[in-house]
């Protein structure tokens, strides 16, 4: 694995961390005060900082560091995460995302903005916190680290000062308010083999708070049996810290696989059993380590001498002798050493096992999208082949051999199940896209000086990855429009009797096999007079055109249409809603708007859950087999002669429950036949098109319903007006999938051209 791959993984993880960060901040913004949320946010920034440091991404590191510092204040309850604080933090999250992107793609970031935010963050960390201790741990630690880096000898071992002699406790430990942890740190030889250094870990630990250490050398064999590469010592540490167990674990982060680690809160009873200890723990000051010469582990006698020498030098504070050792370790010490060791390690394993179980809650793997796509293609082929097999068996099997049929039925169910499971691999919650939107809302709210609240619902609604990827762009446009055009300025809102803060609600839900995304704002709604005037000015409609409200609303989807009085940075370049509409249509979706003057507008998008399969009705038209998407069909009916009414030269209407609906001969529209078919001989499919209007599509016969795999026509051919895509049916032949909206538009007198003219919209 080369550096770039590792870096790529880092950036992928960054994306996840950024998402985690943003969702955590938003939770806090909504009043969540769960310490876990704060921790999650902190961890996210911390991980990014750590990774960025490894890759030398200095900009990222320095920003993340300041951010982390401020978050640390929140974490330790020195800073209350009020709305103002969170506003800065959310902005910082945005900048952090920008910096990450810039680090990956080499783009530039708004440096003034990040500098400004660094200042704001620092102000939060310092200004609002009275105690001097507000300074972050890292900052305090830095000078220490610089001085304290000890010389490491060739063996990579630093001696720890200790004494073999009994050592009397001079005084009782002072009563500590901060929780005291008892840690048993039992390195394995692997720890040293991997270049880790117990001393450094202990020193890091000492920075967390007041610490005393006892080194247990029970396991040390006599010199002739000593293996120089084995680890014989373990340490019992008592640490008074308010940083929490996580911070302690963090110290051992890179060593945890190579040592047994037990961490527990100290209890006072430990003090009473002090005398029973065969060997007194020796408290010592770690700072002596820095002045001491390096000593090899093998030379025990020498070490002994050195140790007593060190004791003389060391500024030994005898605090914390009593509860220095774990109770369990005490009893183990009284028992024979052979028995004690396995017991302790078993306990340690138990603890490690629990930890592993906690982190293994939802195991995930990263898979290349290409591999998944290949699998999906193959399953598509499997479905087609299975259908072909079934069909040929049905054709050749005159006496209906039940075992073959049963086998085939089972095969069919299995293929369906495989297909569903494979599709589920690609299904992702819309959450990441929705989260991106909250950032866009913040930015535009800032730019326009409006106060906006984004409410998202149904973030966990799952939809195919391709749909998600293509959703971001139109959604961004729409959100921008909603804030820029939809919502009024705070003054106007107050004047209209609304709250100053506008609300944009983004909702996702599943509805009849599609995902429906709704974007609602509580703004002024569409100004129909203005839209109409604009359309007339731009020669889009005739001045005397008689349009319904719905038709006027839909004018905004027309290319080159923007009602913003002045062209703003945000929207109003006239490339808004028509682009949105086109990209939604390209996804096989529909978009509608409904607006109430004074109460806001609702955009409703309905999208297929996947772009790979479609439930369709297989029909026959002029001897050709076509597939009509099931989602478009409202109902099917067998027209009676009495229900058909001629209208004008060659229009016909069908009366359905006393309303008239235009009849469209699919065969004629697609040029499959020269003259219109007799409606009475065929079947009418009542379809609803995007404009909301209903049409009755005439087909010759219905063959059945089937899930079909969508095949691109464009790959080897070209876009065909009136045809959405192709599929392969059970007999191996290609069938065309009807583009219902285009057919309906064509029936309104347009030629079937990919570019829709205005009348198709209005």
């Amino acid at each position: 694995m080369d550096m770039n791959e590792i870096k790529e993984i880092f950036f992928q993880e960054c994306e996840e961390q950024l998402a985690e960060l943003e969702s955590g901040l938003l939770k806090l913004n909504d009043g969540d005060r769960d310490p876990e949320t704060v921790n999650a946010v902190f961890r996210a920034v911390h991980s990014i900082k750590g990774g960025a440091g490894a890759f030398g991404l200095d900009d990222l590191v320095s920003f993340a560091h300041v951010f982390e510092t401020t978050l640390d204040c929140v974490r330790s309850n020195r800073l209350d995460p009020g709305p103002e604080v969170l506003k800065v933090m959310l902005k910082s999250a945005d900048v952090l995302a920008d910096l990450t992107n810039a680090a990956r793609d080499g783009g530039s970031v708004d440096e003034a903005r990040s500098r400004q935010l660094i200042k704001e963050l620092e102000a939060l960390a310092n200004g609002e916190v009275p105690q001097a201790s507000a300074a972050p741990v890292e900052v305090v630690a830095k000078p220490v680290a610089a001085v304290a880096a000890p010389p490491v000898n060739e063996e990579g071992f630093q001696p720890v000062a200790f004494s073999f002699d009994d050592f009397e406790a001079a005084e009782e430990p002072p009563l500590m308010e901060t929780p005291t942890y008892e840690i048993v740190f039992r390195p394995k030889s692997d720890l040293y083999a991997k270049g880790n250094e117990a001393t450094l870990l202990l020193r890091d630990l000492s920075r967390l708070g007041d610490m005393s250490i006892h080194c247990d050398m029970e396991a040390l064999p006599t010199l002739d049996r000593l293996s120089p590469e084995s680890a014989y010592f373990f340490w019992k540490i008592q640490l008074a810290t308010d940083k929490g167990e996580d911070a302690i674990r963090a110290v051992f982060e890179f060593a945890e696989w190579d040592c047994d680690l037990e961490i527990s809160l100290a209890s006072d009873e430990a003090a009473s059993s002090d005398e029973e200890l065969p060997m007194q723990p020796v408290p010592f000051d770690l700072s002596i380590l820095d002045d001491e010469p390096a000593v090899s582990v093998g030379v025990v006698e020498e070490e002994e001498q050195l140790a007593s020498q060190q004791l003389g030098n060391a500024a030994v504070s005898v605090a914390g002798t009593a509860s220095n050792v774990l109770q369990m370790a005490q009893s183990a010490a009284r028992a024979p050493a052979e028995k004690a060791a396995p017991a302790a390690s078993a306990a340690a394993q138990g603890a490690a096992g629990q930890q592993a179980a906690a982190s293994a809650a939802t195991p995930t793997i990263r898979v290349d999208l290409d591999r998944v796509d290949r699998l999906i293609n193959l399953v598509g082929e499997l479905v087609i082949n299975q259908a072909m097999l079934s069909q040929s068996v049905v054709e050749n099997d005159t006496n209906g051999t039940s075992s073959i049929n049963m086998g085939l039925e089972e095969l069919q169910q299995l293929t369906r199940e495989i297909q569903d499971s494979v599709m589920a691999i690609r299904a992702q919650p819309v959450k990441p896209v929705f989260q991106r939107m909250s950032r866009i809302v913040r930015e535009i709210a800032d730019m326009t000086g409006k106060s906006v609240r984004l409410i998202t619902e149904g973030e966990n609604t799952e939809v195919d990855k391709t749909v998600i990827d293509k959703l971001a762009e139109p959604l961004t446009h729409m959100i921008r429009n909603a804030v820029d055009h939809g919502l009024e300025t705070p003054e106007k809102r107050l004047a209209a009797g609304k709250s100053a803060e506008g609300t944009v609600r983004l909702t996702a839900k599943h509805r009849s096999g599609r995902i429906v995304i709704e974007l609602a704002d509580d703004g002024a709604g569409i100004n129909r007079e203005k839209v109409r005037q604009k359309a007339i000015d731009n020669d889009l409609i005739a001045a005397d055109a008689n349009l319904s409200d719905e038709e006027i609303d839909n004018l905004i989807f027309h290319a080159g249409f923007s009602t913003a009085d002045k062209i703003s940075d945000i929207s109003g370049r006239g490339v808004g809603m028509d682009v949105v509409k086109r990209s939604i249509q390209a996804l096989g979706g529909r978009i509608n708007i409904s607006s109430k003057p004074g109460h806001g507008s609702v955009f409703t998008m309905s999208l297929p859950l996947t772009l790979a399969v479609l439930d369709g009705m297989v029909v026959t038209v002029a001897n050709q087999t076509l597939v009509v998407p099931l989602t478009a069909i409202v109902e099917t009916l067998q027209p009676e002669a009495s229900a058909i009414h001629s209208f004008g030269a060659n229009q016909r209407l069908i009366s359905i429950r006393n309303s008239f609906c235009p009849l469209v001969d699919v065969g004629r529209i697609l040029n499959f036949r020269a003259i219109q078919a007799n409606p009475v001989e065929g079947v009418a499919l009542l379809v609803e098109s995007e404009g909301g209007g209903q049409r009755a599509l005439m087909v010759d016969a219905i063959q059945g319903q089937r899930q079909v795999v969508i095949k691109s026509l464009e790959a080897n051919y070209t876009h065909v007006p009136g045809i959405a895509a192709a599929t392969i049916l059970g007999d191996g032949r290609v069938a065309l999938i009807l583009d219902v909206d285009a057919i309906v538009a064509a029936s309104r007198g347009q030629s079937l051209k990919p570019e829709m003219s205005l009348a198709a919209v209005g």
């Binding site: 293609n377 598509g380 087609i384 040029n671 790959a715 080897n716 051919y717 392969i728 290609v734 069938a735």
Partner: protein, 156 residues
Amino acid sequence: MTYAAKNLTTDGRELIAFRVGAQEFCVNIMSVREIRGWTPATPMPHAPSYVLGVINLRGAVLPIVDLSARLGMTPADPTVRHVIIVAQVKSQVVGLLVDAVSDILTITNDKIQPTPDVVSSEFEKSFARGVLAIEGRMICLIELEAIFPQEEREAA
């Protein structure tokens, strides 16, 4: 079938010769993916007359072009005896309906004679890259990319 002289010089190239109506044509073998029998195609609405429709080629949708009609000759009436040459044209794959594949030729570039200036239409000039005299027959070397210019395919 005629045995074509194998002349494996450095500038030698291999061509596939096929019959359309009474004439013989050839294309560079490197653009040919496979040769398969005729299967009924699904007609496409609003397609040019020379596009017979689309067929299923192992899961891909493959348009079939009647080369005879495309070259301005009598449209073919496809039967099971017809052959589809699956060819790569730029990024797309198309099926060419021809009467029969007749030969694989290995020739050197100097065997290719310039197209006689009897051809009148610009279209024929654009796709004919030269003619070959092989054992008394005349085989016209055609350029597939000229037959299916991208703009025309998109407009189709």
